[in-house]
Symmetry: C2
Subunit: 172 residues, 2 copies
Amino acid sequence: MRSITYLLGAVVALGSGAVYTAASGQANDKAATDFGVKLPAGYRDWKVISVAHEAGKNNDLRAVLGNDVALKTYREGKLPFPDGTIIARLAWVYTSSEENNKVFGQDQSFVAGAPINVQFMVKDSKKYASTGGWGFAQFKDGKPDEKALLNTCFPCHVPAKAADYLFTHYAP
Amino acid sequence: MRSITYLLGAVVALGSGAVYTAASGQANDKAATDFGVKLPAGYRDWKVISVAHEAGKNNDLRAVLGNDVALKTYREGKLPFPDGTIIARLAWVYTSSEENNKVFGQDQSFVAGAPINVQFMVKDSKKYASTGGWGFAQFKDGKPDEKALLNTCFPCHVPAKAADYLFTHYAP
């Protein structure tokens, strides 16, 4: 049970990078992991949905961005997200800022360090019908991360089914 | 010295809200605190410069956004920032996510809670010549925050003079 929880934990909330060794044969199912998502053009310029800090093994600061249809849906609160929605989760190493701490006079400032990876959820209710309508992808240095166990993503997002499988809430 | 450090710390890196009692008469100088900055239209849709977590009394998660000229300058790395640059710092209460922690199986997930305030730095090298070319503003619930001690902002940003008074680095 612990290993399953751990594997699920690896991808929650567009999670950790999912580079962990699979706990079951399912994770070696090549077809299941290949959603065929290409790196969306211009994603770094998308609008902010929210920000977060994952401690533990993730040890990151993250921004969750969305394309225009994602933002419109979040702001109107009308689920489900329509086809064409794309959510991007950018993660950077959680880094203590010596420069800022000097000015604050104490260790309190944590900033985005080196980029870790970028994950995407792409809505296509027909193509990805078996995973709640969402395709999953992970890129590192602009290339698909072949170490990512993408078939572990959807099971982890099931607890957020009422929010159309998204854990991230819009930050006003 | 401690009180000065504290006051400076309150506004570092588009800081804490600066609602602390002034340590000197300067903080009661009405004229000095009034940069006349109006809430920039559409700032919530601006692009991400970086994200951060300030612990301590700030206890926030923050996104630093910029208008187009800000992003262009950050990406090209050509200082100083031209007139018309606006930087926005949005802060939300640093909030443990019970929902996410359940899936991770441990307490590790911190998300953006209620909004705290939004701060701006506006570049106008003539109008704000005495403060490095930057005007400072703080809004709460969409209105100017009259508790903000804006004349404490610039002294705090002086250590970042080499970066045109900005502590935030662009997160790729």
